[in-house]
Amino acid sequence: MNPLVLVFAAPLLGSLVLAVMGHKPHGRNVNVAFSFGTLLAALFLTIKIVAEGPLFAFNSQFFIDSLNIFLVTLTAFIGFTTSVFSRPYMRIEEDRGKMTHSRMRLYFSMYQLFSFCMLLALTTNNMGILWVAMEAATLTTVLLVSVYRTPASLEAAWKYFILCGVGIAQALMGTILLYMASQKVIAPGLNPLLWTNLNASKSILNPTIMSLAFVFLLVGYGTKVGLAPLHNWLPDAHAEGPTPISAVLSGLLLNVALYAVIRCKILTDGALNNNFAGNLMIGFGLLSVLVGAFSLLRQRDIKRMFSYSSIEHMGIMTFAFGMGGPIANFAGLLHMTVHALSKSAVFFAVGHAAQKAKSQMMDDIRGLIKVSPTVGWGLMMGTLAILGMPPFGIFASEFLILTSAMHQLPWSAPILLLGLAVAFGAIFSRVQPMVFGETNVKPLPHSPALLPVFLHLGLALMLGLYIPNYLNQWFLQAVAIIGG
């Protein structure tokens, strides 16, 4: 049996089952089980790909190569760890009366469906299905963000829906243009929307249509990536939803959207033979870095702050991919991986911290190291990882990005320097008094799930010091696919 079927079946089935019994006490465990199943299926798929090379499935509608396989694994992995984190977290939310039974069912069911949508978006070969999956991912997360039904969460979800909906509509326009361009040139009998077919004949696609298409696609998927100035939904959605959702939004959804942009960039580059797409991405990237960094300074809500940090990091990645070249692309992929791991770890720690303090306001969170040393150190280490302190992996990718930027685009170096410095100052000055200092808050009733935090940080640490050879090979092959 094709392992891809399992990869899809596990979350879909989980979604259905949990829609029925998600409110039961062991619904949490079932959620973990299904996520674990997805992870196993993804690993199985990965092993198959490693052994046999790229894979087509279902009449070429699905295509798995080195560029998406590591994202599939990453998505399944973070999906799993987040479900582990959800166990005690949602239990406390339920105890505190923020979640009713029906909301629990909705939450778990949508959580699985969301995983499914992302895996679908990652593995599909059809640019149309990619669009559909992205839109579906938006819809599921809209429900997840609004799950508390508070005025703030409704407002956040509404904005999220409208802004991303409109954005995604532009991506549909782009897809139509793409289709139009390929329809004219592609050999009859081949599906003109399949990425592999497009990629094979990308050099003969009409450059004008392709550049128009790329603009629409970039605005569309870029909205989901959270590129400034299309980013306005992102802090609201991160801050008002449940923390596990913030973790997967930052850790996964943004990556998937960026993945879509990269796929489009590959085609555009092939058609245009200039760096039009790259330049646009460089511009968006730098703007996002600056906007993200300067916005960080004024935050008082901890989740909001880290969501701005995600904007900044997505900016760095977009910049890296825009710049292109083997080193920058490698660094961009590495950054995607490590940022996902570190940022979700930070959100896990933040979740526990905010639950302890019963507030997301940073002024209310103090002395974590005293209440719970593990949460405190988890937040501190996660923050340092996010800020690019070695030996965490983000440092490795930032190292490569900055050093190659210094030669390829020297003028951008001061901007990046400014952005990183401001971000560092802003985040660290807030996190330090939260972790250190005095407090009189009592410990939580349920022991926090810190395994995911340290697992993620451990992996992020490892990737800074040692990248396993097979992962390196994937990255290298993916770099070859991205080219540029």
Binding site: L212, V219, N232, L280, P390, F436, G437, I467
Partner: protein
């Protein structure tokens, strides 16, 4: 491995430190074990490292090693050459003293658990050693930032005080910005070859413009770590905040690591050398030195005083380096070697005596609980060990013969006297001024040090509780005695030390001084020629000692007057008390007056009718108001501006998307509107 090479052994020491650190985590709260076993063990590691480095310097080792970690295309490249060996030697020597001291210093009650402290401490020293043997940009940066991070945690060991947290934050922020600048500098140096090893950087030929960019970025990055003006701002905050052994390590070694990096980049990695680089370093260094020492003289917190004194010394190091670079850029390699010798000598000397002095403040702090000079005094009577050891450090720090600080100062001034031979007339004009400021700095350093020693240890105790101060414990004494002995040796045996630097000079400028410097015997230092200049601390010491001994004996033999003790005479005033001594502020008053434009001062003067008259002067750094606050305000302004992007209105957000779309469509090639 049957016959491990030196670099392997160095790596074993580093890993040993890491293991000690992890043992610390395992024994988080076992105070006695951590203090009595782990810290001395780490100290022994330092000693072993020093011996290895000595061996390496003597045998002229140049060993490479790669470790299969790091980035896949860039595994860790390590290299042990003469330059790293020299710094490793300094590192090992200082760590031995500081670790042994720490064994007796840390108390169980401090904010951070002892085991965690051990982890941070050993991680810190291990990362410093790793910086020194790194041979590619990645491992260098990893070790560099680990060093910053671990020292940050050490600085904030007592994190319950908001002031300490603020100091730690400032420190890490400056360190991080500096690190990004370094990263960019390495980015230039690798010249887009994608190969980040130092050996690749050496063979890249950059245009003068790009080489200058790399150099200036390196100055910024390393200067931020070293505390060069105007990036010194963190230093006087972080040093007082940190526990004393940590201040000792930071001041003694970490600042030198920045000097090492600067030497590595400017002499080793860059293949061309422009004369104005030297001038830049020289000007920065001189400014820093003068600034540091003037501020040191007016401080009223003993650790701040020492921190500013470290700024001064770093300034001297940078000016020596700048001078060397200047000579080197004109191909005057012998004289460049002279200036570099001065620089390296001062690295060693300052590392040892400044750590010693910081350890002294630790002992004083433990015995009295006071850091404020205004509440100390007379401790020589209660803590004679600490006081006399401090005295050695103070004399070395003041640059007095025959102590270690004098040798480096002497060498530096000697090299300045060669500057008229430079082919640039404008530089010749500049040199007298530079020399004058070096001389002024040296003299002011003496002023500051007299203040430090005199106010802390001499006179009468300014507080009642000082009468119960206890002398340092055994471990503390051993640590300090070790450093004091090394200080004395460095002062008395300059030729032996310069011999050790010989291979370093060969690496950096192609030739050394050793051939000439001991041509008249090991005891006489003649760096260029005997006619030019000579200095012999041993003779010097013998001369003074003979004179003193002669005088003493003669006075004893010829005269038989007795010695009586009585209350101080004090010009006949009957009612003197300890409050009538000069305060630290009073002692700094002449400096405040002469150098008034340097400071921004707030005075609180007592009025005639005050019932509790209070006099207070707060001297602060003009750089805060003049440079940092505007930057902070600008950043806040910009962030407010960016914050206006997000006003909560969905229509506006949609408008952003709309405008972005239209704008990008206009950018599409081939679209004409």
């Amino acid at each position: 491995m049957a016959n491990p090479t030196l670099i392997d052994l160095v790596l074993w020491v580093i890993s040993g430190w890491l293991v000690i650190g992890f043992l610390g985590i395992l024994t988080l709260h076992k105070f006695t074990f951590v203090a009595r076993v782990l810290f001395p063990l780490g100290g022994v590691g330092g000693l072993i490292l020093a011996l290895l480095a000595l061996r390496s310097l003597n045998s002229g080792v140049d060993e490479n090693r790669t470790l299969p970690i790091g980035l896949p295309q860039l595994i860790f490249h390590l290299r042990l050459d003469a330059l790293s060996s020299f710094f490793l030697l300094v590192l090992g020597v200082v760590i031995f003293g500081v670790s042994i001291f720490s064994a007796g210093y840390f108390r169980n009650s401090a904010g951070t658990a002892p085991g965690l402290l051990a982890l941070e401490f050993h991680f810190f020293i291990a990362s410093m050693a790793l910086v020194l043997i790194s041979d590619d940009a990645y491992v260098f940066m990893v070790a560099w930032e680990s060093m910053a991070m671990s020292s940050y945690f050490l600085v904030t060991a007592n994190h319950k005080m908001p002031k300490i947290r603020a100091a730690g934050f400032l420190y890490l922020l400056v360190a991080h910005i500096g690190a990004i600048a370094l990263l960019l500098s390495f980015g230039v140096l690798q010249a887009n070859s994608g190969d980040y090893t130092f050996s690749n950087m050496r063979i890249q030929s950059l245009s003068p413009f790009w080489a200058s960019v790399a150099f200036v970025l390196a100055v910024f990055g390393f200067g931020a770590k070293a505390g060069i003006l105007p990036l010194h701002i963190w230093l006087p905050e972080a040093h007082p905040a940190a526990p004393s052994p940590v201040s000792a390590l930071m001041s003694g070694i970490m600042l030198k690591i920045a000097v090492y990096g600067m030497l590595r980049v400017s002499f080793d990695l860059l293949h061309i050398h422009l004369w104005w680089w030297g001038v830049l370093l020289l000007v920065l260094g001189l400014g820093t030195a003068l600034f540091g020492v003037i501020f040191a003289a007016v401080q009223s917190d003993m650790k701040r005083l020492l921190a500013y004194s470290s700024i001064e010394n770093i300034g001297l190091l940078f000016s020596a380096m700048g001078l060397a670079l200047l000579f080197y850029s004109y191909g005057m390699n012998t004289i460049a070697a002279l200036a570099l010798t001065a620089c390296l000598y001062h690295v060693a000397a300052h590392a040892v005596f400044k750590s010693l002095l910081f350890l002294v403040t630790g002992s004083v702090l433990h015995a009295t609980g006071e850091r404020n000079l205004g509440r100390l005094g007379g401790l020589i009577r209660f803590m004679p060990w600490v006081a006399w050891l401090a005295f050695i450090g103070v004399l070395a720090s003041s640059g007095l013969p025959p102590f270690s600080g004098f040798v480096s100062e002497w060498l530096l001034l000697q090299s300045f006297l060669f500057t008229p031979s430079l082919p640039q007339p404008i530089l010749n004009m500049f040199i007298p001024v530079a020399t004058a400021s070096i001389a002024l700095t040296a003299a002011l350093a003496g002023y500051a040090m007299v203040k430090f020693f005199g106010v802390v240890f001499l006179g009468q105790p300014r507080e009642e509780k000082l009468n119960h101060a206890q002398d340092a414990g055994l471990f503390e004494k051993i640590g300090m005695v070790w450093l004091a002995v090394v200080t004395l040796l460095l002062g008395l045996l300059p030729n032996l030390t310069i011999d050790l630097m010989e291979p370093v000079m060969r690496v950096l400028v192609g030739q050394g001084l050793a051939g000439e410097s001991k041509s008249h015997g090991w005891w006489l230092l003649t760096p260029i020629s005997i006619e030019r200049a000579s200095y012999s601390p041993v003779y010097f010491l013998i001369g003074i000692a003979t004179a003193i001994a002669f005088t003493f004996i003669l006075v004893r033999i010829l005269y038989h007057a007795r010695l009586r003790r009585s209350a101080p005479w004090a010009g006949g005033h009957a009612w003197t008390n300890s409050r009538m001594q000069d305060t630290a502020e009073g002692y700094g008053q002449p400096i405040r007056q002469v150098f008034e434009p340097f400071f921004s001062m707030k005075r609180q003067l007592p009025k005639p009718d005050d019932l509790e008259p209070k006099y207070e002067v707060i001297v602060s750094d003009k750089f805060w108001e003049g440079l940092y606050m505007p930057v902070v305000r600008l950043t806040e302004f910009l962030s407010a501006l960016v914050g206006r992007l997000q006003r909560g209105r969905i229509s506006i957000y949609l408008l952003y998307s709309f405008i972005t779309l239209i704008f990008l469509l206009l950018l599409v090639p081939g679209v004409k509107i």
